[in-house]
Structures are given as C-alpha cells and as structure tokens.
C-alpha cells in the first residue's frame, strides 16, 4: 500500500480539525459534563449542588428496578437484533434471486428506513392500539385479550417488532450487497459438486456473509440500545409498570421527567463504560472468528 507523508504537523491537524471540533463539541464536552454531574446532587433548578462522591453510582447499582431494566434491555436488544437480522437475511436471499419486479420489491423494502422512529411508532400504534388500532380490534374480536397498555409481555413484543421492523431495511441493503459480491463461480463450483440450494447457502454463502453479519450485529445492538427511544416513548412510555423501560429510557425518565440529574448522569456514565467495554470485547474476540 502506498503511504502518503505530510511535511510538518500543521496541515494534518488542520485537515482533522472539523472532525475534532465536532467530536469535541458533541461527544467529549457532553460526556465530561455527564461525568461531572454524576458526582453531584442538585435540586431541579440547579440552585444548590452538593458533591456526593460515588453515592449516585451506588444508589443506581443497588436499585433493583435499575437492575431489572438492565436485564430487560439485554432481552430487548438481542431480540431486536436477532429478529431484524434474520428477517433481513431471508428477504435479501429472496431478492437476490431472479424475480419479476425485483426493483420495486427492493425499493419497498428499503422504505421503512426513511421513516423517523416516532412516526414508525405512531404507525404501529394505529395498527395495534387495543381500541383504535385495526389489528388491535381484530385481535380482540377474535377473542385474543390484546391490550398492550396493560399487558407487559404484549407491550414488550410490540416494541420489539416495531424496533426490528425499522431496522430490517438497513440490514437488507447490506445483506443484499454482501450477497451480490459473492463470486458466482464459487456457487457454480459448489453446484457442480452436487450441493443443493440449502447446503450451498449454509456452507458457502453464509460464511462469506459473516463479515457483513458481524458488522450488522454490532450496529443492530447499538441501535436497539440507544436509538429506540423514539419508539418506546411514542408507544408505551416505558410502561405498563416498567415492562418496557430500557436503560436509555430510564436515563430519560430520571433526568428529564424526574429531574434527578445526578442519578441520570451516573446511569449515562455506566452506559458509556458498558458500551466501551462491549465494543472492545466484540472487536477483540468476535472479529477473530470472522472469515474475511
């Protein structure tokens, strides 16, 4: 590979400057604020504040409702990731075949990605609201006691589907691109050797797709962890009870609604550490097992 050297150090830093400014402004500065805030206890209006050391952290970590939320987040994120990846892979494999109207099919599949999370949630609300939703009413008419406003499991199911639905498009694009980059020769060779379609998929296509799948898994988990706020907020507000309260939603309720800035900041810091560790572990160990 050809390497390019710059004379002096001013130019490279100058070229990096926009990125550094953006990262500093939108990541490092708020993160530093969160860290500072996590050691303080303040009244809502910020008129008095008190240094409390690690008290906010010990309070959060010993709060059973927070630990429940952590477990719930794990369940939610992995369900969303598995569902979104599985559905997208299936659809991509179908779209990769020679079918009539493939372009329309692809465009329609990519569409949901352009929908904002809150709008997506409203869409699902209009479908599944027990009283005004089309499917909600239908389920009740069929004798299924559907009421996600009061049934925690149904609420969880609903936000998992809504969140996964929105992510399928994104995964679909990447899987389709991955499928199309698999050399035809390899598949033909396998076919000549007598491998059927299923066998070809599992022994040839799937391993060759694994870099894409790995990348998507990370993206999906991060999405489920952090970008599903809009969906949860519009559909269930974390309820009923705390049945759909994920960690990120909890940060919002405690910080924005309940105005416990210290506790909310401590939770953010814990999340930040969690994400740093997760990312490191993923790249260090999981990536090694992926065939490139």
């Amino acid at each position: 590979m050809k390497k390019v050297y710059f004379k002096g150090i001013a130019l490279p830093y100058f070229l990096l400057l926009p990125q550094i400014i953006i990262t500093g402004l939108f990541f490092f500065w708020p993160a530093a604020q969160a860290v500072r805030q996590s050691f303080l206890r303040e009244d809502a209006f910020g008129l008095s504040s008190q240094f409390v050391g690690f008290e906010n952290f010990t309070d959060v970590l010993s709060d059973p409702t927070w630990l429940d939320a952590a477990f719930r987040t794990l369940l939610f994120s992995s369900s969303v990731a598995i569902l979104a990846l599985g559905a997208a892979l299936f659809l991509a494999v179908q779209a990769d075949k020679h079918i009539r109207g493939a372009d329309t099919y692809k465009t329609l599949l990519i569409w949901p990605y352009a929908v904002a999370p809150a709008i997506a949630a409203v869409l699902w609300l209009f479908m599944f609201h027990p009283n005004i939703g089309i499917f909600g009413r239908m389920l009740n008419a069929l004798g299924v006691p559907w009421d996600y406003k009061l049934n925690g499991d149904q609420a969880m199911l609903l936000i998992i589907f809504a969140a996964a639905w929105k992510q399928v498009s994104y995964n679909f694009i990447f899987f389709l691109a991955g499928l199309q980059s698999i050399p035809k020769a390899v598949l033909e060779a396998a076919a000549i050797d007598g491998a059927g379609p299923m066998r070809r998929f599992w022994t040839v296509v799937f391993p060759l797709l694994s870099p894409t799948a790995f990348f998507l898994m990370v993206v999906n988990l991060v999405y489920a962890f952090f970008d599903t706020f809009g969906i949860i907020h519009s559909l269930t507000q974390g309820g009923p009870g705390k049945a759909t309260e994920t960690l990120i939603y909890r940060v919002y309720t405690d910080g924005v609604m309940n105005l416990n800035f210290g506790s909310s900041a401590a939770q953010s810091v814990i999340l930040m550490i969690l994400v740093i560790v997760l990312t490191m572990v993923q790249f260090r160990y999981v990536e090694r097992k992926v065939h490139y």
């Binding site: 009244d43 809502a44 209006f45 910020g46 008129l47 008190q50 009283n131 507000q237 309820g239 009870g241």
Partner: protein, 453 residues
C-alpha cells in the same frame, strides 16, 4: 427562606421608585413570554384571553406558546431557567406546586410581585380551596390561580339508556357504581368504567373525599419531611375493587395521565373519572354532544365514617419566573406580569373561562354572575364540580386541603406503575400500595435533602 428575603430586600427598594415615569419612554410594547400546557381546544381558548389582554392595553404584549403536556411544560420551564431563557409566566399543574414553592429565586412569589408593582388582586373573593392550594401557611399567595379543576364522573346517557339504566340518576356509591357497570357490560358497552389521571382520581381525590391522609403532615403542607400513607386499608380495599372490576371486564385502565379521556370522548366508555376541565372536549367530541353528557360527583364508600367530604382541586396556576439563576426581571416586566394577572382576576374573564371550558369559577363573584345568567339551569351538571368542592359543608380538613409534596410528578409515575402491575395481576393491591409508599418516600427524602438549603 433566608435567600428569598434577602433577594426581596435588595430588589424591592431600588426598583419600585422609578417605575412610573420612564416606562412610557420605551418604543413599542414590552414583550413577555408565556408558556402553557393546554392542548386544543383549551389552549386556543386560553390564547384568546391573552390576545384580549394584549388588545386591552398598549404597554405589554404577551406571546403565548404551547409547550406540550403539563409535565413537559414543567420540564421545559426548569430547563429554560437553567439556561437563562425561562418564560416570564409559566402555567404549572398542581402537582408541580411543591417543587415550585421550593424553587427559591427561580420564581417570583406572587405576593412579592404585587407588593413591588402596587397592583392589587382581591384574593378574598377566591374560593378557599383554590386560594389555600397556592398560598403559604400565613396566607401569602405564591402563584396566580387560573384554570382550577376538580375530578368528577362523566357518564354517557345514551349508554345508560341502552343498558336499561336511568340516564338522570348517576351512581353515588361504589356499590352502585359496580352494579351499574355490570349492567352496562351486559348491555353491550365495551368499557363500562375507565379513568383519566388514574392516581389523581383514584388515589388522591379518593383519599380526600374519604378524609383519609395521602401523606403525613397534612399531605405535606406541614413541611418537607412528610411521608406517604397510601398503603392504608381503605386505599388497598379500593385498589382491590378496581382489580376485581378489571377481571370482570367492567373497568378498563385507560392509560396514564390524560390518556383515558379518549375512551370516553369516542363513546366507547360508559363512565369516566376525569378533570372537570375535560367538559369542553367531551361536549365537542362525544357522540350526541352535550345532551348525552352526564356529570356526577365522585362516588364513595358509604360505610366510611364521615365520607364524603370535599374533593381537592387540580388544574394549573400561573407562576412568575425569573429568567435564569443570575437574571432577575426588570420593574417593567414585573409590572406587565402583575397587570396580566389582575386581568385574569376580572369577574368577566373568570366567568367566561368557566362557562367555556368546565374549569371552576375560581372567584365567588364569577360563580354568582354565572348563576344569575341561568347557565346552570341550561347546562345541567356544570355546577357539579363546585358543589363537590363544597361537599360535606365545605370545611376542609388536613386531608382535603390539597397536596404539597416535592417531586410529586415522579411519585405519581411510581404509583401509576405499581397500579399497572397490580391490574396486570403481577402483585396484590397491598403490595402495589406498599411499593408506592416505599418508592414515593425515596423521592420525598431526596427532595427534602436537595431543597434543605
């Protein structure tokens, strides 16, 4: 407390004197911002009052802006204050009263504002339940009462007819409620009973009318060290009633906060507990309109000694705010706020708002004026809220004066979550109320700790 008195001494003296002369030298009206939390149609009616005030005088121009629901408006105002962009006036729901009272220099107490500007408002004429809610123990007013409501029961007369019930007689006790609900269910009404603001109507108002404490120290009026008391036998019994009705499909959880209103407005619910201020919406949206809308007082358990007494108020009041931690208002701005408040106290304004919306007539003069016009005979039930506030002789007790607990928004959320879990069958009524008390007391202790200074 010390901080507030000092601030007052420093601010009051130099600003009061030069007030009269230089104000007119300024070109154009003085701009004041006003954030409110009323959705349509109420928000539009409120903004109409503001534009009438603007048209009534040339010196001040108030710009109203809708900031989402009550809790969202509260959060926005607090965030505004922290970034020195707070509005001059904010509409704060009654649950935020405890937080606002303890807000130190974030707010400008109404009695100070009036003293400094020389504007007078006849608070003697305000209903005691309303005045008491927004005043200090010594009677000095902290905020300007405006859209006060109370919880009442609305019922669908057509649904009553279809179920073979007399549409002119509403159930008075919970035993009658359940009987009526069962009849409605049998008559094909999908949701016999639901509720908006579940904790407000089923826990807070319920405790008040049964003269049962919600919290110690007169529900927090006596100090920041109050503790919740909602795991009492009566409260648990009532949650059990709701759970049983839920299992019998005669009670449907309509969602948190005001979400339940929609179930009644679209005609699918037979009875609802809601804010009297929801009347405007129901008159507009309920199939059959005003002729189909029945209003009744909150039901009670008739075996409880002394019940029922008066219900408590809800709704919201207007608070004058400072712009930010280090930014007080000018004398002119305060003058404008005070004059707007005085405008809101006019009998004509109070009476019009009451008849247009279903909120309470907050002054006696307005109530008398509306009564004289024959409004209550033409609109049966419109006087139910005020009668209910005076139920039991109108002698408020420590349990029925109101609620003044810090962080009450969070406590309400905790109660709603515990009620939801109970109604799902995940815990008993006793557990739900015990958990509410435990979680609520944590909030109260944190609030006490951060607001001690």
């Amino acid at each position: 407390m010390l901080r507030r008195t000092l601030g007052k001494a420093v601010l009051a003296t130099p600003l009061a004197a030069p007030l009269a002369a230089p104000a007119f030298a300024q070109s154009g009206p003085i701009e004041l911002t006003f954030w409110h939390g009323l959705a349509q149609p109420l928000g539009g009616l409120l903004e109409e009052i503001v534009s009438q005030f603007n048209a009534s005088q040339p010196r001040f121009r108030i710009t109203p802006s809708f900031r989402g629901s009550y809790p969202e408006t509260m959060v926005a105002a607090i965030a505004g204050f922290r970034s020195a962009t707070a509005p001059h006036i904010v509409q704060m729901f009654e649950v935020g009263t405890g937080t606002m009272m303890a807000a130190g220099r974030a707010i400008k107490p109404l009695h100070e504002l009036l003293l400094e500007t020389g504007v007078t408002i006849a608070f003697d004429d305000y209903l005691p339940a309303v005045r008491g809610y927004y005043s200090l123990a010594d009677g000095r007013m902290m905020a300007m009462p405006f859209n006060s409501s109370t919880a009442v029961m609305f019922y669908n007369k057509d649904a009553f007819r279809r179920a073979g019930l007399n549409p002119d007689v509403a159930p008075r006790t919970w035993a009658e409620m359940r009987a009526a609900a069962t009849r409605l269910r049998a008559g094909g009404i999908e949701i016999p009973v639901t509720t908006a603001w579940p904790t407000w109507t089923q826990v807070e108002q319920f405790s008040a009318i049964h003269n049962t404490p919600l919290a110690t120290l007169d529900n927090g009026f006596g100090g920041l060290n109050a503790e919740l008391r909602i795991n009492n036998p009566l409260m648990v019994r009532h949650i059990n009633t709701l759970m049983e009705m839920g299992r019998e499909n005669t009670f449907r959880w309509g969602g948190r906060d005001g979400a339940g209103d929609a179930l009644f407005a679209n005609g699918s619910s037979g009875m609802i507990f809601a804010s009297s201020g929801a009347r405007a919406r129901f008159v507009r949206e309920l199939p059959g309109g005003v002729a189909n809308l029945g209003v009744a007082m909150l039901p009670y358990y008739n075996d409880v000694q002394g019940a029922p007494i008066n219900s408590i108020i809800g709704g919201a009041a207007f608070w004058a705010m400072n712009r930010g931690p280090n930014a007080a208002r000018s004398a002119d701005e305060n003058r404008g706020i005070a004059e707007f408040f005085a405008y809101l106290a006019q009998t004509r304004v109070v009476a019009n708002w009451h008849t247009a919306t279903g909120f309470l007539p907050v002054t006696r003069a307005a109530f008398e004026q509306v009564k004289a016009t024959g409004f209550y005979t033409q609109n049966p039930g419109a006087d139910i809220p005020i009668e209910q506030l005076l139920r039991g002789g109108g002698q408020m007790t420590g349990n029925s004066r109101g609620i003044r607990l810090g962080g009450f928004v969070e406590i309400r959320t905790a109660m709603q979550e515990e009620m939801e879990r109970a109604l799902q069958g995940q815990q008993t009524a006793q557990q739900a109320m015990d958990n509410s008390v435990t979680r609520g007391n944590v909030v109260l202790r944190n609030f006490e700790r951060t607001n001690r200074g």
